[in-house]
Symmetry: C2
Subunit: 143 residues, 2 copies
């Protein structure tokens, strides 16, 4: 349960240590304070981007559900929670003619993950192909 916290701590610690190391080793001798600050800034920016991307999935999910919760905007047909949020999301991309690889790229997950989602969708809708899934989804007003 504490793994993510540990991970974050270790990662941050490492980053700080690296920065400290840079500082004492040679940066102070060769670089101005401004340059040093710039490098540290870039490093932490990179760390931030990395962490942000790494946890984007959950954030997207939250956003997704929040959007669903909005009255007028909410999906009119989430038939008995037939599909999960992520599955619906993938299904919509399929409906727009995107390939699994494209969906994977825009959702920032792996191709295998999208394949898993699509197969789960097919299973729940009782179909075997994405075109059938679209047809079925339209019948069920899922799309």
């Amino acid at each position: 349960m504490l793994k993510p916290i540990l991970k974050f701590g270790v990662l941050t610690g490492l980053a700080i240590a690296a920065a400290k190391l840079l500082e004492v080793s040679y940066l102070t001798d060769h670089l101005s304070i401004k340059a040093y600050i710039s490098i540290v800034g870039v490093a932490f920016l990179a760390l931030g981007v990395y962490l942000g991307l790494k946890h984007r999935r959950q954030k997207v999910l939250v956003t997704y559900k929040e959007v669903e919760a909005i009255p007028g905007v909410g999906t009119p047909a989430l038939h008995d929670d037939l599909l999960t949020g992520r599955e619906l999301e993938v299904l919509r991309h399929i409906g727009q003619g995107r390939s699994n690889q494209e969906i994977a790229d825009t959702l920032f997950v792996s191709l295998n993950t999208i394949k898993t989602h699509t197969n789960n969708i097919y299973g729940k809708l009782g179909v075997r192909r994405r075109t059938q899934a679209l047809e079925k989804a339209r019948q069920l007003k899922l799309l």
Copy 2:
């Protein structure tokens, strides 16, 4: 130019020869005239069915155009004859989630033929996948 005629001639000749063979060999000795006529009838019926199926393409095409010609039934959006009749037909099957093989079976043509049709469709619609074709076709009110 004369290949199909030749083919038909040879086939019909073979059928008649077979019938003649049946007649002289033993049928007249063991079967009544009525039974013999029945058998010949069945044989030619089979031949007719075979030939009919073999040339169904053209007949279907004619029927298709005839259907299109009917006022109220006609397709509401044949945008500048963007797609040919056969292509539209294939596109509709795609829209119902059928695989190329299934379409080939129901239209009584080969898988390669359907592939050619689908690729022509993609070219005309400016897309690269069947799901994109469906999306585009819906936008153009082709479907």
